[in-house]
């Protein structure tokens, strides 16, 4: 069997394409905001644009779980996602309370997604240690 199965290859393709799109849209949004100072609906549209590929990556992960025919690989991926979710909830809850008591600075909400992706790495390590 090749290193990546068909479902994994499709996911990798989608994730790489969406990551590149994210970089492109983020740079475009920053440049337009700096140079043209948009306002009103255009500003809203431009500001949300870089978030869309990230949302699509989360959807692509869900689609991978549906398309993965190998039940063991699927179970490992689900476990990793649960670890990531627990990690994200733990970090954001802790940070939130420390922030409420003004012990930590306020951070943007999108950091929750970044922490979740970091949690996938934690999940991968947990699984590697269990082997």
């Amino acid at each position: 069997m090749p290193k990546y199965n068909a479902a994994q290859r499709r996911y990798n393709k989608r994730a790489i394409g969406l990551s590149l799109l994210y970089v492109l849209l983020l740079v475009a949004a920053i440049v337009v905001f700096k140079r043209m100072h948009p306002s009103g609906p255009l500003a809203w549209l431009l500001a949300i644009l870089p978030a869309l590929p990230i949302m699509a990556i989360v959807a692509a992960m869900g689609r991978y779980l549906v398309e993965e025919s190998d039940e063991y690989l699927r179970a490992m991926e689900v476990r990793k996602s649960l670890i990531a979710t627990g990690f994200m909830l733990t970090v954001t809850t802790g940070w939130g309370f420390l922030q409420s008591f003004e012990l930590l600075p306020q951070v943007d909400f999108y950091w929750a997604t970044i922490v979740w992706f970091g949690g996938l790495g934690v999940g991968g390590c947990v699984q590697a240690l269990r082997r």
């Binding site: 069997m1 199965n5 025919s69 190998d70 039940e71 063991y72 690989l73 179970a75 269990r130 082997r131």
Partner: protein, 64 residues
């Protein structure tokens, strides 16, 4: 749950990769089942039984 997968595979001189190809699953799956880290679903257990031409209970054994 214990299983006799490794013995049955050895009797046929199959590698984990050979068995994985025959079952159309990854080699990691075969390894995880063989070492008892993962209990297969009923459909996969039946596929394994069919491949070895044995009843499921001759391959997978209860811990107690």
């Amino acid at each position: 749950m214990r299983n006799r997968l490794k013995i049955l595979r050895a009797e046929r001189d199959w590698s984990q990769g050979d068995l994985a190809d025959r079952l159309e699953v990854s080699r990691q799956s075969v390894n995880a089942i063989e070492t008892g880290r993962y209990d297969p679903s009923l459909p996969l257990a039946f596929r394994i039984a069919k491949l070895f031409d044995l009843p499921v209970e001759m391959i997978f054994l209860s811990d107690d």
